[in-house]
């Protein structure tokens, strides 16, 4: 899958690597800013009711 995406990207190898790195950074930011905070209550609550 990732191999296919890499091959489908236009440009030379360095441009594809840069594009994938940028995409990974955006995904990482989305995970840290939105997805993980949304998921966390399922695993963590340090209070008593």
């Amino acid at each position: 899958m990732y191999r296919w995406i890499f091959r489908a990207l236009p440009g030379p190898v360095w441009a594809r690597i840069a594009t994938l790195a940028a995409a990974a950074a955006i995904v990482l930011w989305g995970l840290f800013a939105w997805v993980f905070p949304w998921v966390e209550p399922l695993f963590s609550q340090p209070t008593v009711p």
Binding site: Y2, F32, P41, F43, Q45, P46, T47, V48, P49
Partner: protein
Amino acid sequence: MTTRSPISIREVVSDALLTAGVLVLLFVAWQQWFTNVRGDTVHQQEQSRLLKHWGSTLDSNGLPESSKSTGSHSSYPDPVRKVRIEALMYIPKLRSHLWGTPVVYGTSLHSLAHGVGRYPSSPGFGGIGNLGLAGHRTTHGRPFRHLDELKRGDIVAIRTQKTWFIYRLDRTTIVNPDDGWVAQPHPYANAPQRMITLTTCNPLHSARQRLVWWGHFVRSQSDSSIPRELLKGA
């Protein structure tokens, strides 16, 4: 001429499993590392906002000077972050970890990401009843990380705009997560009328139990002087 399949089922499955593994590792890194880095910064920012609201600054021991503000509301309702900062918390025994930590209203995960949370059903600081405070043990700045190192007789000090409130710890216990009675008034026989309850997760890196500390109210004093219990640990 041969044609090559662009993608195989096997490759998709292996990449999906690899992605799932990376996501789990990233979540652990976010929760155990990133939330603490972020939490330390957030706690400092909230402390600064509250001190500014009070018209106060920290002295060389990290203790607030007398408030110069004449405002009647000692808590700071932060409209941007949607959290109300009420006080600062000091435990001399844990000076390097819990010294000027913000106390916020409420114990939702959002509130606890900004400091130690006061249970909404609790009385005000120094009031009659059980002042319940909850804090994270391993994430979001981990203010209660070292709660297990406290001993009977250790001091907990709360600073509001104009007043210091001093509590002394009496006893500890470990309970189940749904044992809400620990933060209710009179949680045990002969419990003091004015008391404090600290709760956090137990054991480390687990939410399986709750570590609880109970203490009694000692006294309050004006913000014009530093409590001697804090000077002793300074």
